[in-house]
């Protein structure tokens, strides 16, 4: 019983944080320092470890009850690893304020040809983004 409770709690804690955190992604409102989410991942890991230490699983059924904890542990580690990847290598930017836009040609999503000359006479916010997912 202890194993089921701790194991389930591990997955629940991690899953709940994932849902709360990633629901903010489409609107771009993720916190700069997701302290709560990080603590919750550690709580999930602690619960998974506790399920083993306290519950001392033996036999197929007990290890089966550890499956949620395994998912909780894996997801927590993925979340923490992802956060370590967050920094971008800025500093190579080839333009500065006061410069003229570097001229380029590209194709738009509707297949039309685009050239920076098209922007002359227009105020523009040029955004580089990571792409759809």
């Amino acid at each position: 019983m202890t194993i089921v409770t701790l194991s389930g709690a591990s997955l629940l804690v991690v899953l709940a944080t994932w849902i709360v955190y990633f629901a903010k992604v489409p609107s771009g409102n993720v916190p700069a320092r997701p302290v709560g989410s990080i603590l919750a991942q550690f709580a999930g890991i602690a619960l998974a470890v506790a399920a083993v230490v306290v519950g001392q699983p033996s036999g197929a059924a007990a290890w089966g009850a550890m499956v949620p904890a395994a998912f909780g542990l894996l997801m927590a580690l993925v979340f923490l690893w992802l956060l370590t990847q967050r920094k971008t290598p800025i500093g190579d930017l080839k333009v500065a304020v006061g410069d003229t836009l570097l001229s380029f040609a590209a194709t738009s999503s509707d297949g039309a040809a685009f050239h920076t000359d098209d922007l002359l006479g227009k105020r523009t916010l040029l955004k580089f983004f990571r792409g759809g997912w």
Partner: protein, 123 residues
């Protein structure tokens, strides 16, 4: 946000490493009302020096959770560093904002303020 930009006659052009087809899918799926440019060969991204060499990307899966597309398979890809560049009618760069954390975008208030400071007197 869009109305603020409209008020100052600023149009938004967004460029990513997506192909024309992917960009079209993205635009339709998210109902985007702006020009999306495709730079799958990273020509423009490299020209501007906004290349993120080893960025984590999650490839899109075909199922959704609470209406949100789920992407569960991580891989390293080259893509653009989130960067905003405000340009006037003559192509002169008035403001640049670059994210040192790919999770974060230019703050809307910051963009609004930059547009207001750049064009406020002549808007």
């Amino acid at each position: 946000m869009k109305s603020d930009l409209d008020a100052y006659g600023v149009s938004v052009i967004a460029l990513s490493k997506d192909s024309v087809v992917d960009a079209a899918v993205h635009k339709r799926r998210d109902g985007l009302n702006l020009t999306l440019l495709a730079d799958p060969e990273l020509k423009v991204i490299r020209q501007y020096g906004v290349e993120h060499h080893k960025a984590v990307e999650f490839s899109t899966m075909s199922f959704t959770l609470f209406g949100m597309p789920l992407a569960l398979v991580p891989s390293f890809k080259v893509m653009a560093i989130p960067t905003s560049i405000l340009v006037d009618e003559r192509g002169k760069i008035l403001w640049i904002d670059q994210s040192d954390d790919y999770r974060l975008r230019s703050d809307e208030d910051m963009v609004r303020q930059a547009v207001r400071e750049a064009f406020g007197g002549q808007g």
